[in-house]
C-alpha cells in the first residue's frame, strides 16, 4: 500500500516555533508514525513548491491513501491539482484531512460545503472522547485521549452529515467539535482528524499515531482505484443477464 503525506511545508521553513518542533517537516513526523505501527507500508512525501504541488499524475496515480496537511497556504494549491485529487478520491483513494486541512480546497471540492469551523483559539486543552466504541478507528485509542495544549476548533463545522462519527472533542474553553468523522464519497473514503498542531509535538505521540494508523486502515481502498467518470450507460433491458459478473 502506497501512502502519500502531503504538506504545505511553509511554517517549518519560515517560522522558528514550528521549525523547532518539526525540523524535518510535519509530514515526516506523520509518516514515521505510520511506519512505526506498520513497517510494511510504503510512505512517500509531497509538498507545496514542488512541480505540480508534488502531486503529478504519476504520484497521485500510484497513491492509495493521501494524508493532507494545509494551514496558511490553502489558496496556493492549483485548481488542477485539486480537481485531480477529487477525481482520485471519487475513484477509490482514501483521503485523510489533518487539522486545518479541513479548510483546504481539496476538502471543499470533495465534500461540497465550505468546510469552515465557526471558532478557533490557540492553546486549549483537548479531551478526545470516543462515542462509537464499535468503530474500528476507536480501537486502542485511550478514552479520553488527553492533549494538554492544542488548538480549539468549534462547532458548527460546515460539513455534510458524516456517515461515521467516532470522536467528539471538548476544549477547556467549553467548545466542542466532531473531531473524528468520515464520509463515503464515490468509491473512496474520507476522514477528518482535527487533533494535531504545528506548534505542539502531537504527531510524535503514540496514542495519536495509533489513531492515525487506524484511520489509514479504514480509508485504504479494498478494490482497484478507477476513473470515476464515464460510467453512465444506456443499456438494453436485461443487459445484466449477459454481464460478466465481475466484482465491484
Amino acid at each position: 500500500m502506497q501512502i502519500t503525506v502531503w504538506n504545505e511545508f511553509f511554517q517549518e521553513r519560515n517560522q522558528p516555533n514550528t521549525a523547532a518542533v518539526y525540523p524535518d517537516g510535519i509530514h515526516t513526523a506523520i509518516g514515521e508514525g505510520l511506519l512505526a505501527n506498520d513497517p510494511s507500508l510504503n510512505v512517500g512525501y509531497a509538498w507545496l513548491g514542488q512541480p505540480d504541488d508534488g502531486l503529478a499524475e504519476e504520484v497521485l496515480g500510484n497513491t492509495d491513501v493521501l494524508l493532507w496537511w494545509g494551514h496558511l497556504k490553502h489558496g496556493l494549491v492549483s485548481d488542477d491539482v485539486v480537481a485531480r485529487v477529487r477525481r482520485r478520491v471519487l475513484g477509490g483513494m482514501g483521503l485523510i484531512l489533518l487539522h486545518s486541512g479541513i479548510e483546504s480546497k481539496v476538502a471543499s471540492a470533495v465534500l461540497g460545503t465550505t468546510c469552515k469551523m465557526s471558532f478557533w483559539r490557540h492553546d486549549d486543552r483537548e479531551l478526545v472522547w470516543t462515542v462509537d466504541p464499535a468503530h474500528p478507528i476507536a480501537q486502542g485509542v485511550p478514552n479520553p485521549l488527553i492533549i494538554d495544549s492544542g488548538e480549539m476548533y468549534g462547532e458548527p463545522l460546515d460539513v455534510p452529515t458524516p456517515s461515521d462519527l467516532v470522536f467528539i472533542t471538548s476544549y477547556e474553553g467549553g467548545e466542542v467539535l466532531r473531531s473524528g468523522i468520515g464520509w463515503h464519497v464515490g468509491r473512496g473514503r474520507v476522514f477528518f482528524v482535527s487533533n494535531g498542531h504545528e506548534e505542539h509535538p502531537l504527531y510524535y505521540r503514540d496514542d495519536l499515531r495509533r489513531l492515525l494508523s487506524n484511520v489509514v486502515a479504514w480509508a485504504a481502498p479494498t478494490a482497484p482505484i478507477m476513473e470515476p467518470t464515464g460510467r453512465v450507460a444506456n443499456p438494453d433491458r436485461d443487459w445484466w443477464r449477459a454481464a460478466t459478473t465481475e466484482g465491484n
Copy 2:
C-alpha cells in the same frame, strides 16, 4: 394534537429539594412550557402510582406524543406498560426521552441497547452546542445554550447510531454527550434531550422550552397511528397492480 407528559413523580413528593423546585411535579412545568409556546395543544399528565402506571390503553391510544421523565423508579414500571408504549411508538407515536429517561425501560425496549451513559456527576456547567444548524429542532435555540448548573452525563452513551444529531453538550468537567439525538423507529420518531434536572428550575426556562417545543413538532405523527404488527403478507405477483393507492 394530544400530548401526554409522563412522570415517575417520586422525588417531588418525597424529597424536599425537588419539591421546592417543582411543587406541582416536573410534568406540570414541562406541560406548561409546551402550552406557552403552542396553546392549541392538548396536554395531559400521567404518573407512576396511577392504575396502569397512568398509561391505560385508552390514554395511550389517544396520545400523539409522549414525553417521559423517569429517574429513580425505572424498575417499577410494569412490563405490560413498556410493551404497550413500544407498540404505540412503532405504530407512529412520538416519544421524547427526558434526561434520565434515557435509562428507562421504555427507552431500552424501543432502541434495543442498554441506553446507559458511562458517567454522571451532579452540578456541572453545561454548554449545549448546535452541530446541525439545518435541523428544525435547532431553530430559535441559543448557540450555545448555557446551563450554569445541571448534571453531567458522559459518553459513551450506549444507544444505536442516531439518524439525527442536533446538539452536543460539553460539561465544565470536560466530558461530552450527544445530548440531542433522534431515531426513526417503525412509523414513529424518538428523541432524547439530556438537558434538564429535577433539582434545578431548568424546565421553566424559555430557551429549553423552545427546544422541547421544537422536538414535539418534529416527533408529532403526520399520519394516523396504527398497529405495528400483522403486516407480513404473502401476496401474488403483481399484487400492487390492484392495490388501492392509499397513502402511508
Copy 3:
C-alpha cells in the same frame, strides 16, 4: 414562503413530444401542483435564457425553496449562478433536485460528488417504495407509487451518503435507485426526487404532487437565511458568557 421553480425550458420549446405534454413549460405544471396543495405559497418561475439565468441576486435572495429542473443544457448555466445558488443553500435555502437535475452543476457544487447515475433507459415502469414510513415526506404517498412509464436511473448513484432515505424505486428492467433522498448542507436542506419526466405527464398526478409538496415542507427554512461565509471567529476564552443568547 417564496418558491422558485427553475427550468432549463429547452425541450418544451424545441421538441414536439415534450411541448405536447407541457405546453406552458414543465415548471408551470410543477408550480401549479404545489399551489393546488397549498394556495398560501408564493410561486415564481425562472429559466435559462433570462438574464442571469433567471436567478439574479434579487430573485434568489428572496427565494426560500428552489426547485431545479435541468436535463440537456446543464453546461449552459453560468458558474456565477451556480456559486450563488450554492451560497444560498449553505445559508439556509431549500433545494429540490428534480429528475435529471441530479446531474446539474448546482447538484455537484452543493454535494461534492459527480452526482451521476450509472445507467438510464427510457420507458420503464417504476414502483416507488417507502422504506422510512416514519418520515414526514412519506405521509399520504401511496406505497408503492406506480408509474407505468417513466425513465430508469440506475445505481450506483454517485452522491454522498444521504442523511434521509425515504424512497427506493425499482424498475421493470430490474434496476433500483435511491429515488427520494436528502442531505443537510450547511444551514440548508437538499432533496432529490428522481421520479418525473419531460415526456410523460407525471407532474399532473396528484400522488407525485403530494410527494413534492411534502418535500417542499421538509426543505423550507425554519430560520432566516443568512450568508454562509465569514463565520470563523477567534474569540477569547469564555466568550459565550457574554454572548447574547440569540437563536440559530
Copy 4:
C-alpha cells in the same frame, strides 16, 4: 478468530426439499464457504435442540462472530439465550442475521423494532445492487449479483435506520429490499444479509460466499469483548487526569 454458525436445523431434518439441498445442514454450507475464503478461521456450529440451544456460556463466551439462521422455529429459542446473545453483541461480538434470521428474537432484542418485513413470496428472481461502492463489504461482489430464484422480502422492513447501507435487492415481482445493511450496537457490529434460502443452493455460490466473508471481516471485533453492563460511574471532577490511558 472464532466463528459460530447457528442454525435452527429443523427443515434439513424434516423437509425433503431442504434436506436434498443441504443434507448436512445449511450451517455447514455456510461455514465451509467462510473457510474456503479464509482457512485461518475457526468455525464451529450450534443448533436448536442442543443443550442451551447450542449457545452455552462457554460457547458464546468464546465466539467472535455469530451467524444466525432461523426460520420456522424462532419461538423455541429460550429467552435466556436471547439475553445472552444480546449482551455478548453489546460487548463487542459481531452478529450476522441471515435471511429470515432478521425475524428472530435475537434480531428484535438487539435492534428494538419488530424486524418484520412487510411482504414475502417464494421463487422470485433477485438482483442485488451495490449502492455504496466505497464500502468494504461490496468489494469483489458482482454488481448486480444475480439470483435466478430466491425469496422476496419486501419493504418496509421494520428496522431502525441502518448506519451502513450497502446493497438493495430488486425482485422480479417489483418489490425492493434494503438487503445488506448494518448497525453499530454497543461495542458490536450487526449486519443483515437477506439473500439466501433453504430450498435453493445459494450458499454454495462463490459470489454469495464472498459477500458473507466480507461481512464477517467487517463484523469481527477489533478489541477484546467485554461485559456491556456496569459502566456507569460517578467520578470526581477531572478524574480523567489520573486515568490510565488504556485504549478502548
